[in-house]
């Protein structure tokens, strides 16, 4: 490795203890992942559902596709919004690596913005322009949206791998496509893809089960719940297999680093594996989720917890990858506690305001002249 290729740490120093930024990065990335899973997986499932419905408007898969697109038109916004914070904090902690990685694939990284705009507007096009009366109308927009989001996932995985391996920068400078040959690239990408489909399918199941339990179009909602539940089952099974593959193809020093990290690394990793297998068992027990609403809610909670724990493990893997490099640098800390407290107060107040607003909206339904 040519250590001189790694840029210097920012002389301004970090305005708070490093642990605080690590916590904020993991926390906000977890939030981002939830919405990202819905956007990516929802777009893929909607496209599949739309085409499997055969263009029949009343087919339960067409109804599902329509619901998922409806959620996505808001979910994508929230994916971007929640993505801003981890983008901010990674620039504080890993600016040397992150900027260098993005510059090494600059046209592709910039192209992500174009893909995002196309993917987002494609979802809106489907929502506003697709006349469901016509067979398969608007399906192309769903495919465009799903493909764009999958390409964006590919770019993010590439940046992640490049920024974590500065020893490969010199060779990547001559051809950044080599990152696709990294043994962990495809298992990582599939890990995100399966998680996205599985999580969005589970949210769709949970929603349909709730509506069926309320007596709302029981037949359609039951069919949706059964269909999406099977998607959750199979993607989770594949996810568990892929997770072990990913673990095995990690560079040996990284794998050893995980094993030697003690409770700090082994507890989250073990928990994630146990939760993954546990999820599989919960999913396999039920064929008609409408009959087990409690189990569906429990499965959703367990999957959310798994994502949270995997976010921690992912962050630790990055730290181990980078350990030989980060050990060379001393990051200065110039704490701004007052500003952090102000941020924390604003965050709590902001979330409370959002909660208050949503509650007010949910409790103020109106129609006719009373409605806005």
């Amino acid at each position: 490795m040519n250590p001189n290729l790694i840029p210097a740490v920012d002389p301004a120093g970090v305005p708070g203890p490093l642990w605080l930024f690590h916590v904020l990065l993991v926390l906000t990335f977890f939030l981002h992942l939830l919405f990202m899973n819905l956007s990516l997986g929802g777009a893929i499932l909607a496209a599949v559902g739309h085409y499997r419905s055969g263009g029949r408007r009343d087919d339960f898969r067409a109804v599902l596709a329509s619901r998922l697109v409806g959620v996505n038109s808001y979910g994508i916004s929230l994916t971007i919004t929640t993505g801003v914070a981890p983008l901010l904090f990674i620039q504080v902690l890993y600016q040397q690596y992150f900027y260098a990685a993005t510059i090494l694939i600059a046209p592709v990284w910039f192209g992500m913005l174009v893909l995002l705009i196309v993917g987002y507007y494609a979802a809106y096009f489907h929502k506003f322009r697709s006349a469901p009366d016509r067979r398969n109308s608007g399906g192309v927009w769903l495919i465009v949206s799903a493909v764009m989001f999958f390409l964006i996932a590919m770019i993010h995985v590439a940046v992640n791998l490049i920024h974590a391996q500065p020893e490969k920068w010199a060779s990547l400078a001559d051809g950044s496509w080599f990152v696709l040959a990294d043994p962990t690239y495809w298992p990582r990408l599939l890990h995100f893809g399966f998680a996205g489909i599985g999580f969005s399918a589970l949210v769709a199941t949970w929603w349909s089960v709730r509506r069926a339990s309320d007596g709302d179009d029981v037949e359609t909602n039951t069919a949706i719940a059964r269909w999406t539940w099977r998607w959750v089952l199979w993607t989770t099974a594949l996810q568990v297999v892929d997770g072990f593959v990913l673990l095995m193809v990690l560079p040996r020093p990284v794998l050893l680093g995980m094993m030697r990290g003690g409770a700090a690394t082994l507890v989250p990793l073990t928990l994630a594996i146990v939760l993954g297998i546990g999820l599989l068992m919960m999913l396999a027990r039920v064929t008609n989720p409408v009959e087990n609403p409690g189990l569906v809610t429990g499965t959703l909670a367990a999957m959310t917890l798994t994502i949270a724990i995997m976010t921690i493990t992912r962050h630790q893997v990055r730290a181990i990858y980078l350990e030989p490099s980060t050990a060379q640098f001393q990051i200065g800390v110039v704490s701004q506690w007052g500003n952090f407290v102000l941020f924390a107060v604003l965050l709590v107040a902001g979330l409370a305001t959002v909660g208050f607003m949503v509650r007010r909206v949910l409790t103020s339904p109106a129609s006719g002249v009373d409605a806005a």
Binding site: S364, A371, A372
Partner: protein, 510 residues
């Protein structure tokens, strides 16, 4: 300077402009739109005015489609582009103001959630609840401006921060309040000119009233913008004002930009008063386009002026636009660029190649080889020299002299230069002599830039540096060792003589 370089034919600055200009227009519309839409809805509820309500409703669709999608993505895009073309600079800003960005993010979350809820709950919730959501949207959006304005103005007038490096000293800097007033006017202006388009679809019986209503908003926006702009100008340090204001501005192009911006604002006011208020029946799509263009021109002109007066800095008197800190000039001059950057060091020792890497590291944030701010076009050529000394009754030689040489030779007239230069015949007889002459001119220019570095180095710390006293007040100084300076000259000379010299895409090998 120790990051890899993304060499872009159009130039990083141009790419940033392509992303940032639509973003600032859309983001300011998103704020002002929030205000106008919710005020319109409030008035519609009180007056039971269905047309005003329809205006709010139609505009909220524009708001959601343009602001929450394009605005949000292009906002992230600014960070993406900044990280690609000026990583050290954006890193410095983020490390200094991370808590400011974080606070802005909180309001951004509120803004986006409220926008989505507001748009999706028309006809579904009570009027009072809907208005509440609308007002929360505006509060979130405006508060993000309140915060981002502190960081943007800090970059031009860091004020006491230069001395204390304290967050709030930089945030509430000398141009904070004027710029906030100015941008408050701009957000109303942007919202008004955009909302004229949905207003044109109002029923004929109510169209005049709705347009007149928007016309008064436009007047308010123009007055606030103008007051804020004038206040902003007076709040600038004299050394910055000198660059574009007064009888003899140092940068004529910026002075022209100022006039352009203010005349555009005047035009917007005239159109607003004549078309929207006095004779709304004349309002058509074309007049709405003209109104929007004049408002955008004012806003664009102001942003160009703000960016231009900040040159050659990203953070005035602290960080140059190429990512070099003022405080690092001496150490870079001693150690050298190649010693500081592994990326610049990668490659053969051939002086032209070393010069190419030096150019990429310290010059390419502003200059491209043949694209935007082309360095090749800025260099003197054999043909330029011949053109300058050619006898022509049309005065072509003088024109070439003014355009190609005037920037450096400010105190030498064209006839005096003709006296000093060889004749056309002599040039053709001995082209090597001209080659040496061009090399000497380039060398002198780069040495002058290096000497400017010394002036920056010894300038008093803790206060705004007077760039007007520099030879090239809009350019960062040359930093690096003497060998690197000579290598840069070799590369630039090679550019003049060999049009096939091209930058490498990435890394060391070209």
């Amino acid at each position: 300077m120790d990051y890899p370089i993304w060499e872009l034919a159009m130039g990083g600055g141009m790419l940033m402009a392509i992303v940032a200009i639509p973003h600032v227009i859309v983001s300011h519309f998103a704020i002002g739109g929030g205000l106008l839409i919710v005020v319109s809805e409030t008035l519609a509820v009180r007056r039971n005015d269905p047309e005003l309500r329809e205006l709010a409703r139609r505009s909220s669709l524009v708001l959601i489609l343009v602001s929450t999608v394009f605005g949000a993505i292009s906002g992230v895009g600014i960070w993406v582009v900044a990280g690609l073309v000026s990583p050290a600079a954006i890193s410095s800003l983020i490390h200094t103001y991370v808590w400011g960005w974080a606070m802005e993010w909180v309001f951004f979350v509120l803004e986006i959630v409220a926008a989505l809820v507001y748009y999706s709950t028309w006809d579904k919730i009570s009027k009072a609840a809907h208005l509440l959501v609308g007002w929360l949207y505006f509060v979130g959006a405006y508060m993000s401006l309140v915060i981002i304005n502190g960081i943007i103005t800090f970059m031009l007038t860091p004020g006491r921060w230069l001395e204390t490096h304290a967050f709030w000293d930089g945030f509430f800097n000398p141009t904070y309040w004027p710029a906030l007033l100015l941008r408050t006017g701009i957000v109303i202006l942007m919202a008004t000119v955009v909302m004229v388009f949905p207003a044109l679809k109002t029923k004929d019986s109510h169209r005049a009233g709705v347009l007149r209503y928007l016309g008064w908003w436009l007047v308010v926006g123009v007055l606030l913008s103008y007051s804020g702009y004038r206040w902003w100008e007076t709040a600038l340090p004299e050394t910055v004002q000198y660059l574009f204001a007064g009888a003899s501005p140092a940068l004529v192009a910026l002075s022209a930009t100022r006039s352009f911006a203010l005349w555009s604002l005047t035009l917007a006011l005239v159109i607003g008063v004549v078309i929207l208020i006095a004779s709304p029946r004349w309002a058509r799509g074309a007049t709405a386009v003209l109104l929007a263009l004049s408002a955008f021109a004012f806003f664009g002109g102001y942003e160009r002026l703000r960016e231009g007066t900040r040159k050659p800095f990203l953070v005035h008197s602290h960080l140059f636009s190429n990512g070099v800190l003022v405080s690092d000039i001496q150490s870079i001059n001693e150690q050298g660029i190649l010693a500081r950057s592994g990326w610049a060091a990668m490659g053969p020792d051939d002086p032209v190649d070393v010069g190419r890497r030096v150019f990429r590291t310290v010059c390419s944030s502003c200059h491209t080889i043949d694209g935007y701010q082309s360095i090749r076009r800025a260099l003197p050529t054999f043909d330029d020299m011949v053109a300058v000394v050619s006898e022509s009754s049309s005065g072509a030689g003088e024109l070439v002299y003014r355009s190609e040489c005037g920037a450096c030779h400010t105190e030498i007239s064209h006839p005096e230069m003709m006296e000093m230069l060889p004749t056309v015949e002599e040039m053709h007889d001995d082209p090597e002599m001209i080659h040496d002459l061009i090399q000497g001119m380039i060398y002198a220019a780069v040495v002058q830039l290096a000497e400017m570095g010394e002036a920056y180095r010894v300038a008093p710390r803790g206060q705004m540096i007077d760039t007007a006293e520099m030879n090239s007040p809009y350019m960062p100084p040359f930093v690096g060792t003497d060998e690197e300076l000579e290598a840069l000259v070799e590369f630039l000379v090679a550019l003049v003589h060999d049009t096939t010299v091209r930058p490498a895409e990435m890394g060391g090998e070209g």
